[in-house]
Symmetry: C2
Subunit: 337 residues, 2 copies
DNA sequence: CTGTTAGCGCTTTCAA
DNA sequence: TTGAAAGCGCTAACAG
């Protein structure tokens, strides 16, 4: 492999001058710059990042840590964030983590290896933050999860109010006359988000004086079509008089609708279904999904802006709530008396 | 940050012994191992990968290079590949590349930085391979793209026959009596895959002696719901007597169906639509998509097996074609005479 | 503007 | 079984 030394030798300059050119420093004569760039191109030289980051004491990098590759809402947010960061003097670096990874552990490792200026967390478990976030010294923003209760002064957050949004979804079903409502969602004891949304549902039921038996009315699933499909089957078995379902994500809603249709049950004529997230697929599905639309562009924009305030001006970490929107779609119908 | 030196000092052993323990070498006394592991845990020590890879002459890593985060077929394949590699003595590392990145350039950089044993390319442009793949010295497999014509002896391939598969899709539409067929796909001059699939369509038309005017009958789009939606609108404007559409991906098919329905056109009663890929969403959509199902599990399995043959036994690079399956779904109906 | 020098944290000989 | 020492390729003072 060709190294910076080779380039130095071939160009007749020293390694440091080559390094300067590679990093676009201005304290290099145009002649040297030109000559070195020529040799670099000729040899197809690519600097070794390991060596670079090993030595480098800081970078212009913003890390975007995405937990869950398959999350379509995150995909939209990431794209928007990348677009925004790219047009600043910082460089976005997207890193995808497995659902089972500890995002905070990874953040610690990455901060120490890459020395980023800031980190944006897409998805994440508050438990992991409580345990170790103190070791992350880099300004960070928790996106789509509230971080106020965590109380770290280098951790801001930008999120939809999951409790309120779920409450609103169930309110809508109740307003349409539904009383026998099923819930499909993530396991509240593992997924904080699911727990929040579940609480929202309960608030709505209580407000309307409706009894809800979670043994019967709730069925747990991971956030996939297939799991939701089975959860819906499960729900049908345990409840013979359901008229509506709240699914904690649009993907789940679609899995549920498929399960219903496969049993000859029409949506929304026989059973209404409302989802959560407002991913683009929701609009392309048949029927168009009723859902709680998270404003992904605004989530992205505010996250970046707040991170930059932390990075550039050492501003205080704020916790911002982004309003959601109830999209009525076509998958919910009123109960006919 | 705590480094290997700190661990050495605290444990009373030398840096080399610590390094041995960290890398699970067997030439360490159980006593030393135990003591060092205790200190490592206590200090929450994580080795710096930059330093590690900088020095390390080889690793047990298999790199999975995925071009296109949003590709749902790739998501399925990646998951399967990861699962397979994890249960061997190798470590899978998934790296996502932007659609605009040069995957071969990245492969060169990564080989040089990470010293992997092998690389699996998901997606990629033959032009990039022609230009620079010679510089990749690591055994590789091109997944979902044919690599036979490229003629590199360290590049195998495992793919669906795109030409044949597209031909089969159009054959099916013709068999159902359709004669006015529109095509939505990627730009054949940029996307090799799209070009292949387009050729397949042409073969079918020629075989059946059907004239096809690509100015009218073809509309280009990127592989997204939205682009396909507009491509479909476009197609409708230019053709008033369409009875069927071949979309080069399931995502495109869904975008197209939405566009049709939004104009009051029913699928499949008024116009039939067939997709390509066989992603899980195809089964969950309404109507269930007619599509060409790529056997993603088999693609994944054979890719890994073939790569291991290259790595472990320096076997010759083979080029395997994986059979596809025509799924009839519900989105294609015969023409009623 | 340019070169010399001293490491970054780790792995890997080589000796002991 | 262990340790000392020599770098991996690069950046970042510092001196000129």
């Amino acid at each position: 492999m060709v190294t910076i030394k080779d380039i130095a030798r071939e160009s007749g300059y020293s390694v440091s001058t080559v390094s300067r050119v590679l990093n676009n420093r201005r304290d290099v004569s145009p002649v040297a710059k030109k000559k070195i760039e020529k040799v670099v191109a000729e040899y197809n030289f690519v600097p070794n990042n390991n060596a670079k980051h090993l030595k480098q004491s800081s970078s212009q990098t913003i890390i975007i840590l995405v937990k869950g590759t398959g999350n379509m809402l995150f995909a939209d947010i990431v794209e928007e964030i990348q677009y925004m960061v790219e047009r600043t003097r910082y460089t976005p670096v997207v890193t995808y983590l497995d659902e089972n990874d500890d995002e905070v552990k990874q953040a610690i490792r990455i901060s120490w290896e890459r020395k980023p200026l800031g980190i944006l967390f897409l998805g994440g478990n508050p438990a992991n933050f409580k345990r170790q976030f103190a070791q992350v010294e880099v300004p960070s923003v928790l996106v789509t999860n509230q971080g106020k209760d965590l109380g770290f002064d280098n951790l801001a957050s930008v999120a939809t109010d999951d409790v309120l949004a779920a409450e609103c979804a169930v309110d809508y079903l109740l307003e349409q006359g539904h009383r026998k409502i099923g819930i499909i969602g993530g396991d509240p004891s593992f997924s904080y988000t699911s727990m929040q949304r579940f609480c929202g549902c309960m608030k709505s039921f209580e407000k309307h004086n409706i009894a809800f038996d979670s043994d019967h009315g709730f069925s747990a699933a991971r956030f996939s079509f297939e799991d939701a499909y089975h959860a819906m089957e499960n729900l049908l078995k345990k409840n013979h008089d359901l008229t509506a379902v709240f699914a904690m994500s649009d993907v789940m809603a679609i899995g549920a609708i498929r399960a219903l249709r496969d049993q000859g049950i029409d949506v929304p004529k026989d059973i209404s279904v409302i989802g959560f997230d407002g991913i683009s697929l929701a609009d392309y599905y048949n029927p168009k999904l009723a859902t709680i639309k998270q404003q992904y562009k605004l989530l992205a924009r505010r996250s970046v802006e707040i991170l930059f305030h932390l990075v550039d001006f050492q501003m205080e970490a704020v916790h911002e709530v982004i309003p959601f929107e109830l999209v009525k779609g076509e998958s919910v119908a009123p109960i006919q008396p």
